[in-house]
Amino acid sequence: MTWFSGVAAGDRTALAARLRQRDPELLELLIQQYEYRLYRYLMCLCGNPTLADDLFQETWMRVLDRGSQYRADASFEAWLFTIARHLVIDFQRRKRWETLDDAAEEFTAASAPSAFDEVARRERESEVHGAMERLPAVQREVLLLRFQEDLPLDEIAAVVGAPLPTVKARLYRALATLRGELGGAHA
C-alpha cells in the first residue's frame, strides 16, 4: 500500500492519468496512505483538530475536483500540501486571523498529558510542541516540511510559494530558535 510513496517519474505519469480519470480506487488508496502526514501538516498550520479534520476532507475534495491539474513532473506530496496550504489561507482570510499563531493555545491544549504512564513522554512532547508553537508560523511550516516530510528544498519552496533563499533563511532561523529553546533537554 505504499506504491505512491516517493513516486518515481514513470509512476507519476500513471498517477496523473488516474487522477484525471478520478479513479476511485486510487483516491481511496491515497487518502489512506497520506492520512497521518496530511493531518499532521494541517495541524501544524492551523493548530485546531476540528478545523484540521474539516480541511483534511476539503483537501481531498479538491484533489478530486482538480486532479486534471496535477502535473507528472511535480511531486504529488508537494501538490497535495500546496492544496492544503491554500485551504488554510482561504480559511484564515474568511475568519480574519492575523497570523496562524492565534490557534497556538488550542494546539497546545490538544497535546496535554492524558495517561499517567506516559507523563514523561507527554511532558517532553509538550515542551517540543510549545517550542514549535512559539516559532513564527512560516518557520514552523518549513521545519515540518523539511524534517518531518523530508521534502527537498525546491519542493518546499513550491509548496509555500517562496523563493529558495527565503525557505533556507526560514529554516536556518527556525533551527537556531529551536536549538536555543530546547537546549540540552533531549540528549
Binding site: R22, P24, L27, Y36, M61, E125, V128, L175, R179, G184
Partner: protein
C-alpha cells in the same frame, strides 16, 4: 567567535538544512567543546522536531473516502448528463437541417423500388426517431449500471 568555530557551525547547519557536506568537521568538534555542544543541540532539536506527533481523529480516512466517493459519483452522473443533452441537441439540429434532403431521398427510393408511400413515411419516421431512441437507451443503460454499482 574564532573562524574555525563559525565555519564549523555553518557547516553543521548547512548539513541539516541543505543536506550539503561542507567538509570534515570532526577534527574541530573533537577539540572544541562549545562546537561539540552546538552540534549535539542541533541534532537534538531536529530529532525532537521529527518526533512531534499528532493524534489523528478516529475514522478520518474512512469518512473522507466516503465523502469523496459520493462526490465522484455525482460528478460522473453530471458529466454523462451533459454529454447526453449535447448529443441530443446536435442530433435534433442535424435532423432538422437534413430532413428535406432525407425526405427527397426516401421519395426517390420509393419511386425506384416501388415502396408504397406509407413505407416511405415510416422510414422517414424511423430515421427521425432513431437518434433519440438510441440516446434514451444509452441513458437507461447507464442509469441501471450506476444503480447496480451503488448496490
Amino acid at each position: 567567535m574564532p573562524n574555525d568555530c563559525e565555519r564549523t557551525r555553518r557547516a553543521i547547519d548547512a548539513f541539516w538544512v541543505d543536506g550539503v557536506d561542507s567538509g570534515p568537521v570532526d577534527g574541530h568538534l573533537a577539540e572544541c567543546s562549545a562546537c561539540a555542544e552546538f552540534a549535539r543541540r542541533t541534532e537534538s532539536a531536529i530529532l525532537a522536531a521529527r518526533a512531534v506527533s499528532v493524534q489523528v481523529p478516529r475514522d478520518l480516512a474512512f469518512r473522507t473516502q466516503f465523502r469523496v466517493s459520493l462526490r465522484a459519483q455525482e460528478m460522473r452522473g453530471h458529466t454523462w448528463g451533459w454529454a447526453l443533452w449535447v448529443s441530443l441537441a446536435l442530433s435534433w439540429a442535424v435532423g432538422i437541417a437534413s430532413a428535406p434532403l432525407v425526405w427527397r431521398g426516401l421519395e426517390w427510393i420509393g419511386r425506384n423500388t416501388g415502396l408504397p408511400e406509407v413505407g416511405v413515411r415510416l422510414a422517414f419516421g424511423l430515421w427521425w426517431a432513431a437518434p433519440a431512441a438510441i440516446a434514451a437507451g444509452l441513458w437507461a443503460f447507464d442509469k441501471r449500471r450506476i444503480e447496480e454499482e451503488e448496490r
